[in-house]
């Protein structure tokens, strides 16, 4: 069995990730959480779509077979890669732990 993300043990990494979603993470435990979250297990794969490079991003879902179209979630637009990473982290956190994170990426003081 590979490592299972547990809210009680791993919650301490949430804030570290929110502070810097794209960086060389200082906690090996956070990198482990991310590796588990990012492990491809089949099905749709989340992707980052730059509608305008360096300015405008949305999340997309790439299906397992190329015959099927990529689904673009254009209802939620991000100004940075980091903001999109945070949104995906929150989705995956919920998927793995059942917990909802109610913090926006920009809301650093919350």
């Amino acid at each position: 069995m590979v490592y299972k993300i547990v809210a009680e043990d791993d919650r301490k990494y949430v804030e570290e990730f929110r502070e810097a979603p794209i960086t060389a993470h200082r906690s090996p435990g956070l990198q482990r959480v991310l590796n588990i979250m990012r492990l491809y297990r089949g099905g749709d794969q989340y992707i980052l779509i730059a509608r305008k490079e360096f300015q405008d991003y949305v999340i997309g879902r790439m299906p397992p077979l190329r015959d099927d179209p990529i689904v673009i979630e254009d209802g939620m637009v991000f100004k940075s890669r980091e903001a999109a990473e945070w949104e995906l982290f929150c989705r995956r956190w919920r998927q793995h732990t059942g917990e909802i994170i109610n913090q926006h990426y920009e809301d650093k003081t919350a």
């Binding site: 979603p21 794209i22 960086t23 060389a24 993470h25 090996p28 990198q31 991310l34 590796n35 990012r38 492990l39 491809y40 794969q45 989340y46 992707i47 980052l48 779509i49 730059a50 509608r51 305008k52 490079e53 360096f54 405008d56 999340i59 997309g60 790439m62 397992p64 190329r66 179209p69 990529i70 890669r81 999109a84 990473e85 995906l88």
Partner: protein, 759 residues
């Protein structure tokens, strides 16, 4: 999405020569074009931004345009094959590889417009079909049992086109227990109306394309007159040929002959030789391969298979949209045809930069006074990475990148157009590796403005667009230079680079043919000064072929970072019979050429170098003029540092010259910067740069015995740091110091007794 794209008919063109551009539009019926010098193709707002210089030419202005498409899928055609209007039996050995695809062709003599003729195919799930079309309509026989993917079968199909009688026999080479894949079935269909011409692995469609492709291997296809039992196949494949059966022979294609060509040889009496379309894979082991020999040149009879793919593409064959004869006085350098069909927005990109390089004039009399600096444009590496789509074809890229997988408009278009063909990093739809890559098609990542899913965080540029960081720096610093491309070097050899004192590489010159390797080594051994401006260079051996100009072959053999792995027995290039794979496995490690060799790979963040004791060696004094810093390159557009993506280090055991100075080494890499697998036997637990001090880039310098020198940055990310702080930084200063000294004709010391060589 992309609304306009295109490709040139060549990547290298000399002044006075004509270059043709093939453009496709998805909107509008015309486009604007202008020729530009490419200076900086990285749009990252943290850097200098996009820079192009307009070069007035006959291309300037509006041109008519239309949508052009690509017809992917390989096949064999025999144009003059007579109509199969009497009873015949078709035999072949077959290894199907993509049974979820429906409506594949094994053999066709079919008129798509009228629905007449004979078609032997495969239905989704692996069921052989025989379809006869004639006055009575179209009738199809379907084998009652399916083939199993990636298993060899002997297939015999007997057809009487007059009566409509059909017999299908299918026999697995290996009779597995509990399997149920043997077929012997008869059918009665309507009579067929055959027509001349014959194809294998594809069918001529009414719209002029070739469709209904086959994925898999065919070996020893044979046609004989009359209805015969399946058991005859062994006798037919035997050599010397059975005289009695030979009297009935219509055709017997032996794919083990002329493997290095686009032809297939019919050993039958009518010489109905075939022509291959879209570059199927040859030099493939056949049904009878034993492992006795692994080279098709030594044991051709074991390499009688051709692997066809429904997504092979050799030449998109687009019509020319713009043709430009370059001015005689156009300076050598990187250029592009900028094409646009409107304003880009969040939904669509409506411009493209179709890249190419201008070389010095070919006629020595026209060359005039040339610069002593040459940029060796790594077009082999650009072709290897052409339309690199591992973010689509391989899952699990996100964990390697340590961030979400980036898709721009080009990537979305690429996803929707698998007929673009893959890069040498991709796999075909059937899972087999892409062993050939052609430049005769749109190459979406050989463009300024392309931001990759692969490059380091920040600019995320890779290969061509990363190399524009160097173009920009050379412009900014006022260095005049010529460009020679890899393919030029392959064809022209040493004489092309002999006039230059200094050669600068791109950021990732990974792929080299034997001719290129030999020419470059000869140049170094005669006193050349090499500035290796990247990482993971001289890694893979590749091959070219005069039979398939514009295409390049790679076999991912034996070892190395392999996104796919060649099948055992398929390590030899079909183009030239050479053993493929890593140059290191051929006894020519990159260290022999550049003084350093590949050690680590990681795509998230770059780091910095720390000055090493050799930096204070008097031999290296010129390199550090004005650079007292302990830390070098802790900034940059590619991952935030000068040491990143792929790193090299000095290893004398692999051929690094013993006099190489380790000027600085990188440190502080993340756990995602990993030791490459050819560097260890048993897998150690500390592969990451956070735990393994072998994971480092060595900034290196060494003199050569001929009075030349080697300078190696050992990092793909180095050039991403050149523009930092208005080009005033220690990476830029070191690069400039080295280049100025390398351009100084004064020889480098070759002996410890030479003045200045000792501390």
């Amino acid at each position: 999405m992309l609304k306009i794209t295109g490709y040139p008919d060549r990547y290298s063109v000399a002044p006075g020569e004509t270059i043709a551009f093939k453009v496709s539009l998805e909107e509008e019926d015309s486009f604007e074009a202008r020729l530009v010098r490419v200076i900086h193709g990285d749009a990252n707002p943290q850097g200098p931004g996009l820079k192009f210089r307009h070069v007035p030419s006959e291309a300037d202005g509006r041109h008519p345009g239309f949508t052009q498409t690509m017809d992917a899928g390989s096949y064999m055609t025999v144009a003059g094959f007579p109509a199969l209007d009497a009873a015949f039996t078709f035999y072949t050995m077959i290894w199907p590889t993509l049974l979820r695809r429906d409506d594949q062709t094994i053999l066709s003599q079919w008129d798509d417009a009228t629905g007449t003729g004979i078609h032997i195919g495969l239905k989704a799930g692996g069921f052989v079909t025989v379809t006869l079309g004639g006055p009575g309509g179209v009738k199809q026989a379907i084998a009652p049992k399916a083939m199993v993917q990636r298993q060899w079968y002997a297939l015999a199909v007997a057809v009487d086109p007059v009566s409509g009688a059909v017999r299908i026999d299918q026999s697995p080479l290996i009779p597995y227990a509990m399997s149920d894949d043997r077929v012997s079935a008869q059918f009665t269909l309507s009579p067929a109306a055959p027509l001349p011409g014959l194809m294998l692995a594809g069918t001529a469609m009414a719209d002029g394309t070739v469709g209904r492709h086959f994925d898999g291997k065919l070996d020893s296809p044979i046609l004989i007159e009359g209805i015969h039992p399946a058991a005859l196949q062994d006798r037919l494949m035997r050599a010397p040929r059975d005289i009695e059966l030979g009297r009935l022979l219509l055709a017997h294609w032996d794919f083990s002959q002329k493997i290095d060509t686009a032809e297939t040889v019919d050993t039958g009496p009518y010489c109905l030789h075939g022509t291959l379309g879209n570059l199927p894979t040859r030099g493939m082991k056949g049904w009878n391969w034993t492992g006795e020999d692994h080279s098709w040149t030594r044991k051709p009879e074991h390499y009688g298979a051709i692997h066809f793919h429904s997504d092979d593409l050799y030449d998109a064959g687009w019509k020319t949209s713009v043709e430009v004869t370059l001015p005689e006085d156009l300076p050598s350098g990187p250029y592009a045809l900028h094409v646009s069909c409107g304003e880009s927005d969040v939904d669509a990109t409506r411009e493209d930069y179709i890249s190419f390089f201008v070389t010095p004039p070919k006629d020595p009399a026209k060359r005039g006074k040339r610069p002593k600096l040459c940029f060796l444009a790594p077009t082999c590496s650009y072709i290897a990475y052409a339309n690199h789509a591992e973010h689509i074809t391989a899952r699990g890229v996100e964990i390697l990148m340590n961030r979400m997988v980036h898709f721009g408009h080009s990537d979305l278009w690429m996803y929707d157009h698998p007929e673009l063909g893959g890069s040498l990093y991709d796999t075909h739809a059937d899972g087999s590796g892409v062993a050939y890559s052609s430049r005769l098609r749109p190459v979406l990542n050989f463009k300024a403005q392309y931001h990759s899913w692969l490059g380091g965080h920040g600019s995320a540029v890779y290969q061509y667009n990363a190399d524009t960081h160097l173009f920009d720096w050379l412009e900014e610093k006022g260095f005049d230079y010529d460009v020679i491309t890899d393919e030029d070097l392959h064809r022209g050899g040493l004489s092309l680079i002999e006039p230059y004192d200094v050669i600068m590489t791109g950021t990732h010159p990974e792929y080299h043919s034997t001719a290129m390797w030999d020419a470059m080594k000869a140049w170094i051994d005669r006193g050349g000064r090499l500035m290796y401006m990247g990482g993971n260079g001289w890694y893979w051996r590749v091959a070219f072929s005069d039979h398939w100009p514009g295409a390049m072959e790679l076999r991912r053999a034996e070892d190395g970072i392999r996104p796919w792995i060649a099948e055992p027995g398929e390590y030899y290039h079909s183009f030239n019979g050479e053993y493929g794979g890593l140059w290191r496995r051929l006894g020519r490690a990159p260290n022999v050429m550049a003084g350093v060799g590949f050690i680590a790979q990681g795509f998230d963040f770059s780091s910095y170098y720390r000055r090493a004791p050799d930096a204070d060696n008097p031999r290296a004094r010129f390199i550090f003029e004005g650079v007292p810093d302990e830390i070098i390159g802790d900034f940059g557009l590619v991952g935030g540092g000068a040491a990143g993506i792929e790193l090299d280090c000095i290893t004398t055991d692999l051929g690094s010259p013993t006099n190489m100075l380790r000027l600085a080494s990188s440190e502080g890499h993340s756990g995602m910067m990993l030791l490459v697998n050819e560097e260890f036997g048993p897998v150690p637990p500390n592969l990451g740069g956070d735990q393994n001090d072998r994971v480092r880039a060595d900034l290196a310098f060494g003199e050569t015995a001929a009075g030349g020198a080697l300078f190696a940055t050992s990092s793909i990310a180095w050039c991403g740091s050149l523009s930092h702080n208005g080009y005033d930084n220690n990476v830029s200063r070191i690069t400039e110091n080295v280049l100025r000294r390398f351009l100084d004709p004064a020889p480098f010391p070759t002996s410890p007794d030479t003045e200045g060589a000792r501390p």
